[in-house]
């Protein structure tokens, strides 16, 4: 499961981040293995997602969101 498939408001835990590239940028902003996330908004027409990490809201483009594999908590 990746964060693109979540329901709005669903809380999940990050399993792993696939593929290289933005891994480090995601890590810096707090999205890493074991981090807890919540989906806040999904913009239409394949627009960005807004995700809550800790007490911060982070907007992610779909292509990068696809790489974040999660499991339900």
């Amino acid at each position: 499961m990746n964060i693109n498939n979540l329901d709005i408001g669903q809380k999940v835990k990050v399993l792993k981040i696939e593929g290289r590239g933005a891994e480090k940028r995601l890590f810096e902003i707090g999205i890493m293995e074991g981090a807890e996330l919540q989906l806040i908004t999904r913009h239409p027409f394949k627009g960005p997602l807004v995700i809550k990490v800790g007490n911060a809201n982070v907007a992610l483009g779909r292509s990068i969101a696809d790489k974040v594999k999660v499991e339900a908590v």
């Binding site: 902003i29 239409p44 807004v50 007490n55």
Partner: protein, 590 residues
């Protein structure tokens, strides 16, 4: 004594320094406000402390520009203390950076900023335990309320006094210190910039350990003590989080902004003109009295009063309204929400959604818009936006004058607008092909109630440029243009007439007007209006002017923000665009 303030983006570094030192650094509620370092001074117990404000970084080992700036500052300036400014309401992530700073082996003081936010979230942070775990001083602080100010002063007094914190804390057993060489290879501790980051896209073992440590510490010291206060802002934030409704509200706000701008210019024009008229007459008589009668006197007497009109009636109100509106959008945290809502639209043109913000501001005035382009995620994307701003987007002053000239010559409005839209689409898609797009990752700030003092302060700081840069520049230019026209110098360009007519279908003087846009785009139409042009010639000339070079204030700003090299590229593209447009329109128009 040198102190370097370091922290994540948008934690309140600038606000803290303003509070501590009384400096007036720009404070805005979104990540990426400041890209330069800035030095402030405060005197404690008779000693001078220099505190450096730095751009926000998530990690000092990051490949981002901001982190490079911070590393360079750490290497260049032998800092006595590092002041780590932490957003207490988002402790875990902030502590990752703290853990990095701890390994630098320099005296470290932690300002736990936004402690007021922590309380309204119903949380409590055990400051003593945190200090113990990190092995350094932790001071709870709030830049908005001033809480913690005296404790900071006291700490500093102790630091320079007999009881030295670098002695007591630095050797704390709990604290692991490594000597990190930020860039050099000597004395490598296995923990330096090179070891931490080889390729820029993967994490080292040390990175993961620091993150794990931050998670543990944050869990240990934070406790929920009461229910989260239901703030009105929370509710509003949730509305803006709704994708359709939120975007709709953002559009309404933008529309209201433009409407206010136009209405304000419209309403203020009468009264301003009423004040300007006697002033103009006074200046005219004054000049005629002090200068001997002749060519110079008549030029100045005419050009100066004339040159006051457009700056005061159009540009001054535009700068005020746009400045105020921008300040509100920035301080509430709405500005970055546009970027998210419009990400899709932007990507059609090849830039991230953030690009819409500076482009929209450009319709007011390009100079603040170029500053606002800082919201773009990287330099390459900024370059696209600034290029589009410089070449295509007409500012309010340009729009007004273009409309007047179009009406005067009965030029074809659909042709001109169509050409501009087409150039925008073509130019942006070419640029985005050349420049790789990055993945979209952007931290949204919480919505906040703007501080009135901050809004006024910012509007004011942005407006001072009107009297010191814009007005003098425009006056001088206007005098120059008047001289050029009255002296008959334009006649000399007659020689180019054949060339100009063959290529672009316009007379040589009109071509000169196009070249004048480099100084100030709205001055070019003033030249045109004095020429006998047909409707077809006017259409081509106006289209060439509308799609040409940035004006002088924009040029100055571009050099400051992007450097001379990029400016040269933009100017070359502007000239190429303008000439191509003229050439093609001449071929295509009947």
């Amino acid at each position: 004594m040198k102190i370097i303030a370091i922290g994540n983006p948008n934690v309140g570094k600038s606000a803290v320094l303003n509070r501590l030192t009384g400096s007036q650094i720009f404070v805005s509620n979104y990540a990426g406000t400041s890209v330069e370092t800035c030095k402030t001074k405060m005197i404690i117990a008779g000693r001078e402390f220099y505190i450096y404000d730095t751009p926000g970084v998530y990690s000092i080992f990051s490949v981002a520009d901001e982190a490079r700036v911070v590393r360079e500052l750490l290497e260049e300036e032998q800092a006595d203390i590092i002041l780590n400014i932490v957003d207490a309401s988002n402790l875990e992530r902030n502590l990752v950076l703290t853990n990095e700073l701890l390994t630098l082996g320099k005296p470290l003081i932690i300002l736990l900023n936004q402690i007021d936010m922590v309380r309204s979230l119903g949380m409590n942070i055990d400051v003593k335990l945190l200090a113990q775990r990190l092995g350094c001083l932790v001071i709870p602080f709030s830049a908005t309320s001033g809480e913690g100010f005296f404790e900071f002063i006291k700490t500093m007094e102790e630091y320079i006094g007999p009881k030295n914190i670098s002695k007591t804390d630095h050797n704390d057993k709990n604290r692991k210190t490594y000597t990190i060489n930020l860039n050099s290879e000597h004395n490598c501790s296995g923990n330096c910039f090179r070891c931490s980051d080889h390729t820029g896209d993967c994490m080292s073992e040390a990175d993961l350990q620091r993150a794990e440590e931050a998670r543990r510490t944050s869990k240990m010291v934070s406790k929920r003590v009461s229910a989260r206060q239901k703030m009105r802002l929370d509710k509003i934030e949730r509305i803006y989080d709704r994708p359709v409704l939120g975007s709709f509200l953002l559009l309404i706000i933008a529309y209201l902004g433009f409407y206010t701008l136009l209405k304000f210019i419209d309403l203020s024009e009468g009264p301003i003109n009423m004040l300007l008229h006697p002033l103009g007459l006074f200046i005219e008589t004054f000049i005629e009295n002090i200068l001997p009668v002749g060519w110079l006197s008549s030029i100045f007497a005419k050009a100066i009063p004339e040159g006051l009109i457009i700056p005061f009636t159009i540009i001054m109100p535009a700068m005020l309204v746009v400045g105020f509106f921008m300040a509100i959008l920035e301080d509430t945290g709405l500005l970055p929400r546009y970027s998210v809502a419009l990400e899709r639209v932007g990507s059609l043109f090849g830039f991230s959604g953030q690009g819409i913000i500076p482009l929209a501001i450009g319709f007011g005035c390009r100079t603040p818009a170029i500053v606002a382009s800082r919201i773009m995620p990287n330099q390459a994307q900024r370059f696209i936006v600034v290029t589009l701003l410089s070449i295509v987007i007409p500012c309010s002053a340009t729009l007004g004058v273009l409309a007047a000239v179009i009406a005067a010559f009965n030029a074809s409005l659909p042709v001109i607008i169509g050409t501009m839209l087409l150039v925008f689409a073509i130019l942006s898609s070419i640029l985005s092909r050349l420049i790789p797009r990055e993945e979209y990752i952007y931290e949204l700030p919480p919505l906040r109630v703007p501080l009135i003092s901050n809004v006024i302060n910012k509007t004011n700081m942005r407006f001072t440029g009107f009297f010191t840069e814009v007005l003098p520049l425009l006056l001088v230019m206007n005098i120059g243009i008047r001289m050029l026209m009255d002296s008959g110098a334009l006649e000399y360009f007659r020689g180019m007439d054949g060339f100009s007519r063959a290529l672009f279908g316009i007379p040589a003087e009109a071509l000169v007007a196009v070249l004048i846009t480099i100084f100030q785009r709205y001055l070019a139409p003033i030249v045109l209006i004095n020429l006998p042009l047909t409707s077809r010639e006017a259409t081509i000339a106006i289209a060439m002017i509308a799609l040409s070079l940035p004006c002088l204030p924009a040029i100055v700003m571009t050099i400051r923000e992007l450097g001379l090299k990029n400016l040269v590229k933009i100017i070359a593209m502007g000239l190429a665009t303008s000439f191509t447009v003229g050439f093609l329109l001449n071929l295509l128009l009947p």
